[in-house]
């Protein structure tokens, strides 16, 4: 008997449902009450999980990308069928695929007993597979290492929950629900994405540490390359040596270099996440501007789009003292937040080419540039050298 067969059916006139069983009204039915009481312990009580920010429709309907632009549709279909056949044969020949058909990444135990799905990893050298949809959980004594396809490594610290959302040729996507990970990635920028409850971290070719607290706030520290942090229409770019906090209801804050003065960092935090009076806000901004060093132009660039009116004009003036506006950038353009001019000025900081980010932002795809892929290959060599 299935749902469809029963849909539309109703009880005959000579049968009446007990009103307490139907909607809890009328004379309490002792039998139903006894069952309700017995089964109460099985009732759903789980709190709502933090939902990933970066899940998009494109993940569900993978297209053939640029191929469809240059090949007629039937050739694309034929090529797709051929590819599926080739992949099928390759998988059939590969012994490992016999254990599980779902895509996933290898997990190696470092300490304790990490859990993947419902299976605990135990014993020195234990390995497991984190499949799409599964969660890797480490308790306070456990640590694990994830091999991210062929593009990097993630160390998962104690007290973490990491869910694998997607792994495909152009997209590796995890959701750090809580805890700390250290990622070393040599994929083309935009290929590796980490969702958190309060912002999405997009790898732009780098090593970084990402922490998510139980309340969903987070902190990202980049040690090599740079990372884009994105949520609620706010973008933050975090180059090596810089830190960026993120807040559940605000998104990413303003990044700063970790050696900036305490007063500078506190004032930024107030401006980003505090509920300030106009007077207090003006005071925080003055502290930032007076404490800023040349390196802190990183933070000032971000503040251009996070301030308004006279505040933005003050930030512009201080920023221009450190980094003279390049050709094509005008005061009026910046005060009106002209995207092209802001991007030109960012590139003048020499902290990373923002066109990579814009490409990801518009397409959700990693950069296709051969030059960038070559840079990533070199970065991989560099990372491997460092790890030896």
């Amino acid at each position: 008997m299935n749902q469809r067969k029963l849909q539309g059916e109703d009880l005959p006139d000579n049968e009446r449902i007990d009103s307490y069983l139907w909607d809890g009204t009328g004379e309490p039915n002792a039998e139903v009450q006894r069952l309700e009481k017995a089964l109460l312990e099985l009732r759903h009580r789980g709190a709502a999980p933090a939902f990933p920010l970066a899940v998009s429709l494109s993940e569900e309907k993978p297209g053939l990308g640029f191929l469809s632009l240059i090949w007629p549709r039937r050739f694309v279909a034929l090529a797709a069928v051929s590819m599926i056949a080739i992949i099928g044969i390759a998988f059939a020949l590969k012994k490992e695929s016999l254990t599980s058909s779902r895509p996933g990444w290898e997990v190696a135990l470092i300490d304790g007993t990490p859990v993947i799905g419902r299976h605990s990893m135990q014993g020195s050298g234990a390995k497991g597979k984190l499949e799409v949809g599964q969660v890797l959980v480490t308790n306070e004594n456990s640590r694990a290492n994830i091999t991210v396809a062929e593009i990097g490594e993630i160390q998962v610290d104690p007290g973490s929950r990491v869910r694998l959302i997607q792994t495909s040729r152009d997209r590796k996507h995890i959701f750090l629900e809580e805890g700390t990970i250290h990622a070393a990635i040599w994929a083309p920028p935009g290929e590796f994405v980490v969702d958190t409850p309060s912002a999405v971290a997009v790898d732009l070719g780098c090593m970084y540490t990402l922490h998510v607290a139980p309340d969903g706030t987070g902190l990202l520290l980049t040690t090599l390359g740079w990372v884009g942090f994105h949520s609620n229409g706010r973008d933050s770019f975090i180059p090596a040596g810089a830190v960026c906090p993120t807040h559940h209801k605000v998104g990413p804050g303003t990044p700063y270099f970790s050696d900036a003065s305490e007063a500078f960092r506190n004032a930024l935090s107030q401006l980003d996440f505090g509920s300030l009076t106009d007077e207090a806000r003006a005071g925080a901004l003055q502290t930032i501007l007076s404490q800023a060093r040349k390196e802190d132009a990183l933070s000032l660039w971000h503040l251009l789009s996070r301030t308004e009116g006279s505040e933005r004009a003050q930030v512009y003036a201080r920023f221009a003292e450190f980094v003279p506006p390049p050709q094509g950038v005008t005061r009026d353009g910046i005060l009106q937040l002209d995207q092209r001019q802001l991007d030109l000025w960012w590139n003048a900081l020499d902290l990373g080419d923002i066109s990579i980010w814009r490409f990801w932002e518009q397409t959700g795809q990693p950069s296709k540039s051969q030059a960038i892929r070559e840079q990533m290959r070199q970065k991989k060599e560099e990372l491997l050298k460092q790890s030896r």
Binding site: M1, N2, Q3, K5, L6, Q7, G8, E9, D10, L11, E15, I17, D18, L21, W22, D23, G24, E31, V32, L35, E36, A38, L39, L40, E41, L42, R43, H44, G46, A48, P49, F51, P52, L53, V55, S56, L57, E59, E60, S100, R102, G117, R118, E131, G133, V135, R163, I165, F175, N232, G233, K249, V250, G251
Partner: protein, 188 residues
């Protein structure tokens, strides 16, 4: 920043907001529908696996919600995802759907003899799981999740008549199963 939808928003309004990318709206849908998903899964997979699968169903539904044409059909659509997820669970674990006890419980209650102690809830759930699928699902939503008949109809997309049949006939059959269990226990 997208504003949080009001508490009083209808399901269809929440679905439309979620389709525009509003995570708060999706969170509100979770609050309203997690019990239904939990109940559907509880009738099909081991109790120890249900909580994780509830989250998985919502994470699967989230990127697909833009493909839902009629927001009024959200409940039925989500219920179908939950039923499919239960099927996938057994496909992945190579266990037969009929053998729900095969998978160990997360925190089994050990007896002195070394066995696993069964609570009254386990016995009643095992009896409900012997019922036909439609009766089983509706009864779990009523008796475990505490939903009323009209609420079950609203959430799952079934008609009131269907829910009435499932509850009434399901309860009759459950009574027979439980009486049979009690009689055989007395004989022993």
């Amino acid at each position: 920043m997208i504003a949080a939808p009001p508490f009083a928003a209808t399901d269809a309004e929440l679905v439309r907001a979620a389709q525009r990318g509003d995570r708060n709206a999706f969170g509100a849908l979770y609050e309203r529908y997690a019990g239904m998903v939990h109940g559907i899964l509880l009738g099909r997979v081991p109790a120890s696996a249900v909580e994780d699968l509830v989250q998985d169903v919502f994470l699967k539904a989230m990127p697909r919600i833009t493909s839902l044409r009629d927001p009024d059909h959200f409940g039925g659509w989500l219920a179908a995802i939950a039923r499919n997820r239960a099927v996938d669970f057994f496909r992945e674990s190579n266990a037969a759907p009929g053998h729900l006890e095969d998978v160990p419980q997360a925190e089994p209650k050990s007896t002195e003899a070394g066995g696993v102690e069964k609570t009254e809830a386990d016995f009643v759930l095992a009896a409900i799981r012997q019922l036909p699928e439609a009766y089983r699902e509706t009864l779990i939503l009523r008796l475990v999740e505490g939903m009323t008949g009209p609420e079950i109809a609203l959430r799952t997309g079934l008609t009131h008549g269907s829910v009435r049949v499932n509850l009434h006939r399901g309860m009759q059959q459950l009574r027979q199963i439980l009486e049979g269990v009690e009689k055989s226990a007395v004989k022993r």
